[in-house]
């Protein structure tokens, strides 16, 4: 027989106990007992970038690729590439984007999702490019909250040992 798990009245203490022993009892204000257990879950996906693949392969070669609509009447230029045009549904073609742009909007994240907490604080920026009708979301490095502003000129940097993630490109203030 296993002894009954320890009992707590604060849910925070229940959580701490789960990390220690994997089971705890929570007692609420009415005296109702609930058995709470640790219940882990992890998974590795087989993820294809599919029609977005050339963008990620491009980053590994130091290229920043967008796409443009092949319908001459439309011709929308996407800074975040997409396989078909969102305006007229025509297939797009790959293009090279300029490596310099301007900050359209920005923030500094002092907290983040669990996966990114250890990287805080970090800056996110939406970047606009000459001639493009849409934006690109990026990390903005080598700059602090107090340095950033809408309209700031920025330029791309590429990961020398690519991870095949959108984080293979980031932007820094133009020098």
């Amino acid at each position: 027989m296993r002894p009954r798990p320890p009992k707590f009245r604060k849910f925070r203490e229940v959580q701490a106990e789960l990390d220690r022993s994997g089971a705890a009892i929570f007692e609420d204000a009415q005296g109702v007992e609930s058995l709470v257990i640790r219940y882990p879950y992890s998974i590795t996906y087989i993820h294809s970038y599919a029609e977005d693949s050339p963008f990620f392969l491009g980053l590994a070669e130091g290229r920043l690729r967008g796409s443009h609509c092949t319908n001459k009447k439309c011709g929308f230029v996407y800074a975040t590439p997409r396989g078909h045009c969102m305006v007229c549904a025509t297939p797009t073609e790959w293009i090279d984007l300029p490596k310099k742009g301007k900050v359209h909007s920005w923030t500094t994240c002092h907290f983040g999702s669990e996966a990114f907490l250890k990287e805080t604080p970090y800056n996110l920026a939406l970047v606009e490019f000459e001639g493009a009708g849409s934006l690109l979301l990026v990390r903005l490095k080598d700059a602090q909250e107090s340095d950033l502003y809408v309209g700031m000129p920025v330029e791309a940097r590429f990961e020398p040992s690519p991870k095949y993630s959108v984080t293979d490109v980031w932007f820094v203030p133009q020098t």
Binding site: F11, D52, S105, L126
Partner: protein, 444 residues
């Protein structure tokens, strides 16, 4: 709509799983109307947002099962943050189409099952996982990007147009925007002091909100809703049956839904779809929606208003319960819903239009009561158990229109004097889907 029920939203409800939470809200709803027995219900629409939080696929079947609704028809509704609003409209459609005479809509979320920052990660998976999530997927970050541009368009380029130094002008505009967002947070937290269902009623000051932890610049902790456990239900039926169940039925007179691109980066820079009382000239130089406004919210509002015959929402609505996941998005939404014009959201707050009369907010609110927004306290103070939230708004609006807030809240402060018509607004993602429903008093 003939009845509704809500559980108190809480950080965690370890003694109730999702089935029991829904059951409690359901029992509360049925208690008040003895003629509505379970056998009169033709079917259900059940909503929850995330399979990650539940880690139980087909969890809606277990709700159906627990409520004793088998073998009646049911379907699970999911549409991000707008899950509850969509569920309400799915119930409306089931009745309006003639498929059901009486439909039970029920929603819940149990977000306490993971730590807060893991919960944020689950929510951020509702952003493009190729292009957005890996950069630091974090919804407060996305909303900060949006409000930063909103501040630029509507404060930097207006109130601070005279400031020559660009960076100084932007700093002043951000400080002004932060102050005004804090007024919204104070409003919603203080309204909630009179709502016993609210998770975080607080008597905050503007300084408290500004001084709370910076989460994603310029958004602070007290300007953001929290994760919650909770459930809500609403029962909808045909107009001819409604009086059999209650002498105070509420009519659903309009429903609308709009969408936009998943990625913020793809939002176009086009023209504003106009409210009937707006003029294209007003927005001649406004690139729309960009990342500063929610085109989906505007589209949802236009559809719902058209159906309800509303041409001037500011004058024709008595109140609005809107999706204030962030104080910033409450201000953006005033404009999307036509409560004021684009660019006037900050002034709308400062003048006091969305505040309640008779509540001390700690600062002057000259036009309080003009069109109360989130009299219940909204998501910021009530909590946001995603699949329940849109239905919670429906229930609070229902009680408000019935005039039964004092009975259900045990406090009459939040009851508006004879409201005729209210709007509820449920919002998904970074504005990728929004619903608006119009509810009206269906009795003399």
């Amino acid at each position: 709509m003939v009845t509704g029920g809500v559980t108190k939203f809480a950080k965690a409800h370890p003694a109730m799983d999702f089935r029991l939470m829904v059951k409690r809200a359901y029992d509360y709803a049925l208690k008040g109307i003895p003629n509505l027995t379970a056998d009169r219900i033709d079917g259900t629409r059940i909503s929850y947002f995330s399979d990650h939080f539940s880690r139980q696929l087909k969890a809606a079947s277990m709700v159906q099962d627990y409520l004793g609704m088998n073998p009646k028809g049911s379907v699970r509704i999911e549409w991000g943050g707008a899950t509850g609003g969509e569920c309400f409209q799915a119930g409306y459609e089931a009745v309006a189409s003639g498929r059901m005479d009486v439909c039970l809509t029920a929603g819940y979320e149990t977000m306490s099952r993971v730590p807060t920052w893991k919960g944020n990660e689950f929510i951020a998976l509702a952003s493009d996982t190729n292009f957005d999530f890996p950069l630091g997927g974090f919804y407060t970050g996305y909303y900060a990007l949006m409000v930063m541009r909103h501040i630029y368009e509507y404060l930097r380029l207006t109130r601070f147009a005279h400031v020559k130094d660009e960076r100084e002008a932007q700093r002043l505009a951000i400080a002004e925007g932060s102050r005004i967002m804090s007024l919204v947070s104070v409003k919603n937290h203080r309204n909630a002091l009179h709502n016993p269902y609210a998770q975080y009623p607080k008597k905050l000051t503007v300084q408290d909100v500004l001084d709370s932890e910076m989460i994603s610049y310029p958004i602070t902790r007290e300007q953001i809703c929290t994760m919650s456990d909770g459930a809500a239900v609403a029962v909808l039926c045909t107009e001819s049956l409604a009086r059999e169940f209650t002498d105070k039925p509420i009519r659903v007179s309009g429903v609308g839904c709009g969408t936009d691109t998943m990625r913020l980066a793809d939002r176009p820079f086009g023209k504003v779809p106009l409210m009937p009382n707006e003029n294209a000239k007003d927005y001649a130089h406004l690139p729309y929606p960009g990342v500063h406004s929610f085109r989906a919210g505007r589209a949802a509002g236009l559809e719902a208003y058209r159906m309800a015959g509303i041409t001037d929402p500011n004058r024709e609505l008595s109140f609005v319960e809107l999706h204030d996941a962030y104080a910033s998005s409450e201000i953006q939404t005033y404009e999307d819903l036509g409560l004021c014009r684009y660019g006037e959201g900050y002034g709308f707050v400062e003048r006091g239009d969305p505040f309640l009369k008779g509540i001390d907010y700690g600062f002057p609110v000259p036009r309080a009561g003009a069109i109360p927004v989130n009299p219940s306290g909204g998501l910021i103070a009530c909590g946001h158990p995603v699949g329940a939230t849109g239905l919670m708004q429906a229930v609070f609006a229902f009680w408000q229109l019935q005039g039964t807030i004092p009975k259900h809240f045990g406090d009459k402060t939040l009851q508006l004097p004879k409201p005729k018509r209210g709007a509820i607004h449920s919002h998904a993602g970074t504005g990728s889907a929004v619903t608006v429903s119009i509810l009206e008093r269906g009795f003399a």
